[in-house]
Symmetry: D2
Subunit: 160 residues, 4 copies
């Protein structure tokens, strides 16, 4: 199934007094994965993402009149994630391409379990493309829709 | 409908470069509301919570052999929440009391809109009570179950 | 000696895997104390601060053409600060009023040690008033200088 | 002058409503740089650090009976650091090796200014080695002292 694996360093301050990554800090890791997957970066190794998306999706650098807003999150915590010095792997794909929205599904993994049999967390974010001038949702152009199609995968199922 | 209104100061560092509370920081506000609602505090003004719960629910002080784990979150963002100097109000209630779990539903409000017609966020957290010795879910005792019943309210409906 | 005592709730996510408030999170507590001390708030109980300052010092609400920038911090950690459910007390005063800058000295305390014999941290921040239009430091007006004088106290001594 | 350049991704949530990295978040970046410099990591590219230190300095993995405590920080902010998608570079070296303490000096840079002529921040941290059993400072062994000597450089000068 198509997906991107985004590698991110955890931070010591992501842990809380229970000795593992705080539940809200996990959402910060997902945010960084989204940004790296869809906005690219100068020395980005996410080849597939870097090829298609930076020219199409809005960036933080401005120039674009479109920006993205987080509409919702779902997250289920599978296992405690203690501090580790190698990267967290956030595996993500698009589980739905809507009129003005994208649904991103994620698995939070590490190098010990790259197959994702027992993810630390499973999650989903819906982001909406918004026109900066009007503040209203704006339709995803046909061309971008086509490019995004190849990141599309099965939606996760959530327990709760 | 029964609920608790927990007042919490936002922090300047909860905002991000978009000028309003970051999506993950909103989860931190919910965490603080949960802690204040269910674990009480020395000078806590949450009378209803303080009366019933501290003696029944596990605390961070130890003494108890039970602790709680966040199993899942759902959150939908309704409006951008800019930095403000008066408190955020997190309104919460129990939408379900399971065998070993509690489902908490929330509205994030401010003093400008205390009726909650247009919440900044609506959210739900499932927490599980876990026995510290075995690491396994542990049944909510009948007596606690009875006390918690009067915090029970209608479940929110989620869009996504 | 004149000072303000600002009471702030700690957050569970301020702790890290060592089980006490993370060293950087301590700076966030100081930031919140500064904001509450010098910018006031609708239901602020910091009578002395609220009386003098909100009309004089820049606010986050705009309206003012002056804003403040953190120029530097010093902080020394005295004791580990575990999570606690009652407030942290940040005691602060001005140790120097410069041409365009204010030096704020702090002690981080709790209700168990209100006299401050063994603070969790001692710290100092220099903030500079900056004209928003030019981005340059701007002189503290004589009238404000007069008002601020009564918050002035002895500078702390730092070990390192 | 000997130094290590540690490359770290900034996070979007490091920015605050002013649109640049929050003053306390800068201390979190320094913390991550310290951890990567002195504790190594499985795929660490900091060759010099990785070669000497992991076997000598305490790790978060346990096994060691010594851990480190932050005694103090100084930080001066030179320029605003907006969100950027390429890494922050934290340049660091030891400006003093004490009996039981290490003083780390830092420059916060980016790839646009690798020479460090106009750092975003200059900073210093004193860490103390502590025996876990007694909680007391513990002397740096002669052998480690020798290894650390080659990371030693000139101390920064601080304005405030």
């Amino acid at each position: 199934m198509p997906h991107l694996d985004i590698r991110l360093p955890m931070r010591w301050s992501d842990t809380d007094g229970y000795g593992h990554v705080n539940n809200a800090a996990m959402l910060t890791l997902l945010e960084e994965a989204r940004i790296r997957a869809f906005w690219g970066a100068p020395d980005e190794q996410v080849a597939l993402g870097a090829e298609v998306l930076p020219s199409a999706l809005p960036t933080f650098d401005g120039g674009s009149s479109v920006h993205t807003v987080v509409a919702s999150h779902r997250v289920e915590y599978g296992r405690e994630l203690p501090f580790r010095r190698d990267d967290v792997i956030v595996r993500l794909w698009l589980s739905r391409i809507g009129g003005a929205s994208l649904t991103i599904d994620y698995l939070v993994l590490t190098g010990e379990d790259p197959d994702g049999a027992a993810p630390y967390a499973t999650a989903r974010t819906v982001i909406v493309l918004v026109d900066e001038a009007t503040g209203r949702p704006t339709r995803i152009p046909a061309e971008l829709r086509g490019s995004l199609a190849r990141f599309t995968g099965e939606p996760l199922r959530f327990r709760d």
